[in-house]
Amino acid sequence: MPAELFMPFVMVLVAALLPLQLLPAMIWAERKVSAFIQDRTGPNRADILGIRLGGVIHSIADVVKLIAKEDMTPSKVNSFYYSLGPFLALFISLIPFSIIPLADTLKIGGAAIPLRAVTLDVGILFILAITSFHVYAVVFAGWASNNSFSLLGGLRSAAQMVSYELGLGLSLVGMIMVAQTLDLNEIVRQQGGTIFGILPAWNVFLQPLGFLIFVVSIFAETNRNPFDLPEGESEIIGFHVEYSSMRFAFFFMGEYIAIIGGSAVVATLFLGGWQVPFFDTEMLRENAMLAARIAFGSTAALCVLLSIILMAYDKKLQALYTDKRRFEARVLLGIVVTLGAGAVGGLLFLPTLSSLGEQIVTAIVQNTFLVGKILLFCFFFIWVRWTLPRFRYDQLMNLGWKTLIPLALLNIFLTGVALVLFDRGA
């Protein structure tokens, strides 16, 4: 069967490219959401031929700036470890995607084709193992820079990550006790169906305390506000103070990919992964025609809505500008109309789907829901960053060791009691 042979390579490619695709969107969203929260406009100046896309072009300007900058290596650093740090930071944060199931397993001619790069029975442990590798990047960067502030930042960060890994691991134990497996696809499959017929049976509703501890620990693991002490600008500058150009950008990218990866893990473990609420895989496959029609129809409707907005925007631009910025809305309108026409065409000339076609449509719908959940949680990351102030270091350590770990142990105990009482374990 050829599909079995080449699908792993395709999935490795997808697993590497998905986070890299989401990365510029994430950086743009960070800027725009922060601007929205602080009642500003945000980036809107960088343009290509007058097209600004509300600041999206700014990401391209950033990349050009970072590549064009001088890549300095200070003379007294240990150059091998100095270069190793940023590479590890980016590389390690990309690994968890290889194990996230992107949709339910395909069945082609009797052969099962899992839609993830690595099929491992112990997926949760693998994610925890890879998370603990992040410390190396930070510690090497901090130490090799030969700068006391870098070293201090690196050690702080390492202590923080090691401390919160405990909470991260313990918070999952309750969930594993309920799921009775460590396989990620199996955990996602168990989250189908409903509780009491109203709520989708996601682990966030079964394990609310575990979810809370896991999310707080993920924030600390990714060095995100309110736990961004490794970079606390007002106190120490952080482990990457000696880096410039793309090597600095690697830390930056690694941090954002770690956020996307953390969101993907939270979505998979607690928010139902690729499960579409109230519709399981079989139901979706039976109604694949309807699902495809709805997808094309909603795309067309969205395009109509966008066209109306763009026409209003065009009127505004015509009144405001006399240079090439006037044409931005018209170019975008052209793209949107083409897309909408394609969607309408798809709706009209949709062929009857074969069994394989039904499975592919189902996989696409499930993957769309997974990416939607990931993006929603990424938004949550940004929202928290621009809302909460930074913790002090002793508060951070107290929270990790004296609050989260006892709470995680309590969660294990409560889950055990619940399992014995309601007899799910037996």
Binding site: D121, F126, S132, F133, G142
Partner: protein, 165 residues
């Protein structure tokens, strides 16, 4: 694919283990030791011991080595503190003896494994379920005794730390 992976991973493991003992810089030694542990984890993975593969990464490469590197960085050893590699006569003798004994042990294990058939492993081999089943039925008492030992070590750490603060 299997034999090729085995040779690559073994070469990395042996090479990095050698690099661990011949390098002067403690940090480089720690890093090569980490590499060695990761390569051994890869060997576990090729033997379809999934659980051991992940535990090797999680415990040794992810936790123990991070602490070792952390301590090395806090010590901040300069060139003056690092003595050149010297091999005194008794040390050479003891290391050589231990090496020969280990080699003999390996040869014995190799000879013992000659009769075992290398067929396909059963379904679920090396997974959590089979390892947990063995650990908590046949080897329950050794497991509990080891956990008491670990507990004693933990209490010892707390007692040692209490004196300082």
């Amino acid at each position: 694919m299997g034999p090729l992976l085995f040779w690559i991973l073994s070469a990395v493991a042996v090479g990095s283990a050698l690099a661990t003992i011949v390098q002067r810089s403690p940090l480089s030694s720690a890093l090569t030791l980490t590499l060695c542990l990761v390569a051994v984890a890869g060997l576990f993975a090729t033997l379809s011991a999934d659980f051991l593969f992940v535990i090797q990464l999680l415990v040794y490469a992810g936790a123990v080595m991070v602490l070792v590197i952390y301590v090395i960085m806090l010590l901040n050893l300069g060139d003056r503190e690092l003595k050149p590699l010297g091999l005194s006569r008794p040390r050479t003798f003891v290391s050589g003896l231990v090496g020969i004994l280990l080699l003999a042990l390996l040869a014995r294990a190799q000879a013992g494994a000659a009769g075992i058939s290398m067929g396909d492993v059963p379904d679920g081999f090396g997974g959590v379920r089979s390892i947990a089943g063995t650990l908590f039925t046949s080897y329950l008492y050794p497991f509990e005794i080891v956990s008491v030992l670990l507990m004693a070590a933990l209490v010892g750490v707390v007692v040692l730390a209490m004196k300082r603060f």
